[in-house]
């Protein structure tokens, strides 16, 4: 089996039941993505698959051999990481890698003009606090550090606009 993670190709010998999350954590030593619920309900395992945010606990590794996977380790230096540091966007930190991957994917969705459930027709502010909260609703935080994540993500969005990646 092959996996392409953070730009590196890996050859692995895995059971077909192995999820991308378990492959990353147990076989590639990439423990950034976290196992929270393991059922796609908490978002702690979020990674980017071909640049799109997904729950890695629900992906079978065998079905995603030729698609670039980006984990939080591959997002070092991303404006979202700096935003979380500057605004103290976490308490215990367990959900943070998933939050950061999710926010990075979400900002790309916003840059493409994609709507959310709270977007009104002809709405141009896709990053109001209400928008950020709705768009990030797939990532739970048991510490309740949400209030600081919102400005962290807002800052990252502003920074990303100044210096396109």
């Amino acid at each position: 089996m092959r996996l392409i993670v953070n730009g590196a190709k890996h050859e692995l010998d895995l059971d077909p039941r192995t999820t991308v999350l378990d492959a990353l954590r147990e076989h590639l030593g990439l423990t950034g993505a976290k196992k929270g619920c393991d059922h796609g309900q908490c978002g702690a395992c979020t990674v980017l698959l071909a640049g799109r945010r997904v729950n890695s606990c629900l992906l079978l590794a065998i079905a995603h051999q030729d698609t670039e996977i980006t984990t939080v380790e591959g997002l070092a230096g991303h404006p979202v990481q700096q935003g979380f540091l500057d605004h103290d966007g976490f308490q215990c930190g367990y959900c943070t890698p998933g939050q950061i991957c999710s926010a990075a994917g979400m900002l790309d969705e916003v840059a493409q003009g994609r709507p959310s459930a709270v977007t009104e027709p002809h709405d141009h502010d896709l990053l109001s606090d209400t928008e950020i909260r709705e768009r990030m609703s797939g990532n739970l935080c048991r510490c309740g550090a949400y209030p600081n994540m919102v400005p962290a993500i807002r800052q990252a969005a502003a920074q990303a606009q100044e210096t396109p990646r």
Partner: protein
């Protein structure tokens, strides 16, 4: 998880060997495999069949490939403009991450989230026919008020399907027995005495696309969902509606309900009441009551009857 063989589908009419299942986005199936509720011997991956395009039909409708991801369908400008209820329903469902994987075909075929179905150690006529239904006496707060049977009171969990039912969408399928087209209203079954069968599809019959017909009234449509938290939760009740009013009279209407039955519920009795009726709260409530006359609540879900009445009136008022 029980072990399985994995292979890629080679064609649309591949079919499935006994014990095999199709794998789309996997957001529901992989979860059910972890829970031991789905135990396929073989997974046939349909993600590389090229079913991921949204194309214009010659008559002005849209054909949605079964592999189109929920997020891509919701963001499509043609869908947003001509069928806003569909975009709204998709965005009301799941999370950004799940919508990026979940497919159009898979969304239609997702299983109920009834807690007894999701627990392989509990009796459930849907996962183990004949084992009984603990939900009738147990936790049924979010289960069906319409069309249920003594064997099953589960609800269909999809938001997208509610909009498709309102829009008179049609699924196209392919399998060893050939191709056929089925209105989405006829795709899902009521439980009756076979609650293990969610749909009318045969084993190995693959949904290849969903067609949206030309429907003028659909441009003026809306989806509203009530749930236990502000986002990222299944509906306790939802309404998909399209409405056109001329000179204070309802000219055309489409109405469907989610979270209330074993299938997305097209509210045809309410629609009949509404066509030609004066636009206004009295008509909205009378129409909802006509549809709800057949509703039967259990100990803890009778609240849904009043909820659907009020929600329907709110959405129709919003559109009028």
């Amino acid at each position: 998880m029980k072990t399985f063989e994995y292979r890629g589908a080679t064609g649309l009419d591949d079919g499935l060997e006994p014990g095999a299942m199709f794998l789309g986005g996997g957001t529901n199936l992989v979860d059910l495999m972890k829970l031991g509720v789905a135990t396929p011997d073989v997974l046939v991956d349909v993600n590389r069949l090229g079913l991921d395009a949204i194309t214009d039909l010659p008559d002005g409708g849209l054909r949605i490939g079964a592999g189109v991801r929920n997020s891509d369908l919701a963001a499509d400008p043609r869908v947003r403009e001509r069928y806003p209820v569909l975009s709204g329903a998709l965005l009301a469902g799941a999370s950004g991450q799940l919508r990026n994987m979940a497919t159009t075909g898979g969304n239609l075929l997702q299983r109920t989230r009834c807690r007894y179905f999701m627990d392989a150690t509990k009796p459930c006529n849907k996962h183990t026919p004949g084992s009984g239904c603990p939900a009738r006496e147990g936790d049924h707060r979010n289960l069906a008020i319409l069309g249920a049977s003594e064997h099953c009171v589960a609800t269909h969990p999809s938001d997208m399907a509610v909009a498709l039912v309102a829009l008179d969408a049609v699924v196209n399928t392919s399998g060893p027995a050939g191709e056929r087209s089925i209105p989405v209203t006829d795709l899902h079954r009521l439980p009756g005495d076979e609650p293990d069968r969610d749909t009318v599809l045969d084993h190995g019959e693959l949904i290849t696309s969903v067609d949206l017909p030309v429907l003028g009234v659909a441009a003026h449509s809306f989806y509203r969902k009530v749930r236990d938290r502000a986002s990222y939760a299944f509906a306790v009740g939802s309404v998909a509606a399209a409405l056109s009013v001329e000179d204070g009279v309802v000219r055309d209407v489409r109405l469907a309900w989610g979270g209330v039955a074993h299938k997305p519920w097209r509210a045809r009795l309410a629609e009949e009441r509404l066509r030609g009726a004066p636009a206004g709260r009295e008509s909205w409530l009378a129409a909802a009551d006509a549809e709800l006359a057949a509703a039967r609540g259990l100990r803890d879900n009778t609240y849904k009857i009043g909820l659907m009445r009020n929600l329907t009136a709110w959405v129709l008022e919003h559109l009028s």
